[in-house]
């Protein structure tokens, strides 16, 4: 069986944030999306580190946009999920759902 790299929890969160943001997925909104959905503060540097790992695994790809004055003339780096990334997110969801099924300790926890 071929060796497979599993996504870490944070990588999965970043991947899902990129999917949710679509065309507007660059560092600032990705960080905000994760902060809003998880309730945790994140370092932008850690988001980029995760994005670069995802890019190395061919799960996302990036391209630079136009420089803007608001950013001191620095370009935004936009990220998009690849087909492999979509497949990986789906596989991760299925695996987690299977693991969650039938766990009495977690049932009825949500209000």
């Amino acid at each position: 069986m071929p060796k497979r790299d599993y996504l870490s929890e944070f990588e999965l969160m970043v991947l899902l944030a990129v999917m949710r943001l679509g065309e507007e997925a660059y560092g600032v909104p990705i960080s905000r999306e994760i902060e809003q959905q998880s309730g945790r503060e994140v370092a932008v540097g850690s988001v980029y580190a995760a994005l670069e790992r995802l890019e190395e695994k061919d799960l996302v790809r990036s391209e630079f946009g136009e420089p803007t004055p608001q950013r001191g003339g620095r370009a935004k780096r936009y990220f998009r999920v690849t087909r492999k990334g979509l497949r990986e997110a789906r596989d991760a969801r299925d695996a987690l759902l299977n693991l969650w099924k039938g766990l009495r300790e977690l049932e009825g926890e949500r209000a």
């Binding site: 660059y26 580190a49 935004k76």
Partner: protein, 223 residues
Amino acid sequence: MKSSEPPAVATWLVERAIPGRRNEALAGDLLEQFSQGRGSLWYWRQAAAAVLLGYAREWRVFAWAGALTLLWAFEINRSHYWNLPGARDFFGFGANGHWLLSLLSAAGAILLRSLEIMPLAAVAYSGWGSSTQLKGSWKERGLWPRGWSHVGKPLAAGYAVATVATLALLAGLPARRDPILVANIAALAPVFLAVVVMAFIVPMNDARTWSLTLLQIRPPEER
């Protein structure tokens, strides 16, 4: 009261001191959030985290380069100043030589010895770098030059620090106290410091682009 300008040193660190391709976009993201109301403390925290994470991610490359640099610098200086009196007399012009000639010859000797070891270090590093970097064809992804551009600054800084430290150690030993050594340290320390400063003036990404251009390899993002 919130300052209207972001901390310049933090921006400089983000743009110049982080390995990889994230510098410009990351600096822009921090500036964008600062302009939207984030404070200087937040900015500093983000910049420090980005630099630490950038190096932590490449720890295997930097650990190897760091160890290599320390051994390299120590051995070059030790062999020149300690174990090889004949070479030292030849290069150092003895205690009665003019200080400038002595300094130039010492610097030349260190450079020559560095060049002796350079090919071995290059082979060892490129082998290690290729095995620890991205998957896929090294030529396709430009792994070899990517590795070198990542390691250039720590290597320059490490070499300079190790050289000065080794010379200081040798000069400080009571049995080996030597006015030529002390003079060389005093004169070489600013030279090495200048090398380190110059290395950091060139952004990481530019160093990578130069190395790719020299080897006629286009970066993957341009295709």
